[in-house]
Symmetry: C2
Subunit: 224 residues, 2 copies
């Protein structure tokens, strides 16, 4: 019994906005809610914070459980705490967004959790205030992507410049001039051309590039 114990306590949850990129479109990993109330509705993947768990660790745990991945790029979006946001009981929820390479996730796990990739431009109605969370996360993603080289988290290790451009176009929602885009990429020494060639999307083949994190940490200049 101390000074704090006169004050109320609340359930605290985390909810994850998981971004992926596939075939030129930005996607979100959404789940059919597995418990009541409102079981079966589309929702973000979430979970309650445990007693001896940092809130960031709770988000990592939830993401790992759903994707099988460790070391996911993740940022906090913010806390959502309206009194009636959750119709089950009062729950204060902390939203996180994550950027993952769709090809790396464990599809059996997502399948077990009734989770599916949905196009960001065509999302179904979501549970509670999850749509607000998504919107806020998306605004943050767009801002972030201009300032820091995080787009690569959504791509495989090796990627073509066309893929990279389509990714940026999908995120910022407008088309980019191909020559100007490639000019800017060429100026970033940490986006390295490899000897490998992708022959899947064109007869001619496209050079594969790689993001060099160490080189970026020295140069630290990014602008898109």
């Amino acid at each position: 019994m101390n000074y704090y114990s006169q004050y109320p306590k609340f359930h605290v949850a985390v909810d994850c906005i998981i971004f992926g990129f596939h075939r030129g479109a930005l996607k979100l990993l959404l789940q059919r809610r597995p418990f009541e109330p409102r079981a079966g509705e589309w929702s973000l993947m979430g979970g309650f914070v445990r007693r001896d768990e940092d809130i960031d660790a709770a988000a990592v745990r939830v993401l790992h459980k759903l994707t099988g991945l460790h070391d996911i790029y993740m940022r906090q979006v913010g806390a959502f705490g309206s009194v009636n946001r959750d119709s089950g009981d009062r729950v204060i929820s902390i939203a996180y967004f994550a950027l993952v390479d769709i090809d790396e996730i464990n599809h059996e796990l997502t399948h077990e959790h009734s989770a599916y990739w949905e196009d960001i431009k065509n999302l179904p109605p979501l549970l509670f205030d999850h749509r607000d969370m998504v919107d806020k996360a998306y605004v943050k993603l767009v801002a972030l992507v201009h300032r820091a080289p995080v787009g690569f988290k959504l791509l495989p290790e090796l990627f073509t410049l066309t893929q990279l451009q389509q990714l940026y176009e999908a995120i910022i929602g407008e088309s980019i001039d191909k020559r100007n885009f490639r000019k800017r990429v060429a100026e970033m020494s940490f986006i390295e051309k490899t000897d490998a060639v992708d022959k899947l999307t064109s007869r001619r083949g496209a050079a594969l590039y790689r993001f060099n994190e160490e080189a970026y940490n020295i140069e630290k200049k990014f602008k898109l």
Copy 2:
């Protein structure tokens, strides 16, 4: 008893980073903590969220209690939820930053709460993770101030261009060319020159300006 009730509950608090501007310097309103543990240490003004209160409303309540002001400009900074961040008990805290006009606040109230304005460049050591909260809020403020006309929240209704420039210099932490600054201000039609003149800081007198919120909402262009 429902599905949620198997999960733990937590104390949830809000902490407020209150920015002010006085004599060319950006300031924070800090408080001597009024209860144990660690009573008397410098801390942010905070409070526990009440059972039937939105988290945003809790921040509004705390700010009102300390300053006497309604309608304070406020934004969420984020949730801080490390297990041991508070040595009293586990508390998940949501940080908010606020921009206030120092001249409008009720100084008796701040005095009653042992709260004082400290220069942002020379802060004392703060309780728990409050310094992290301040740093994160400050980064957000700097980013915000480039994109949106929020600086005016820190100034009186009428202000001189020199004051406005000093405010921006204090926030972004670098000096700005006077002619370039005034040129940009002149292009923003929502920063209006009034007939009033300030005679306090110069013999010659300086024109007083006003921020016109309605005009801004039509024009919606800001860049600094």
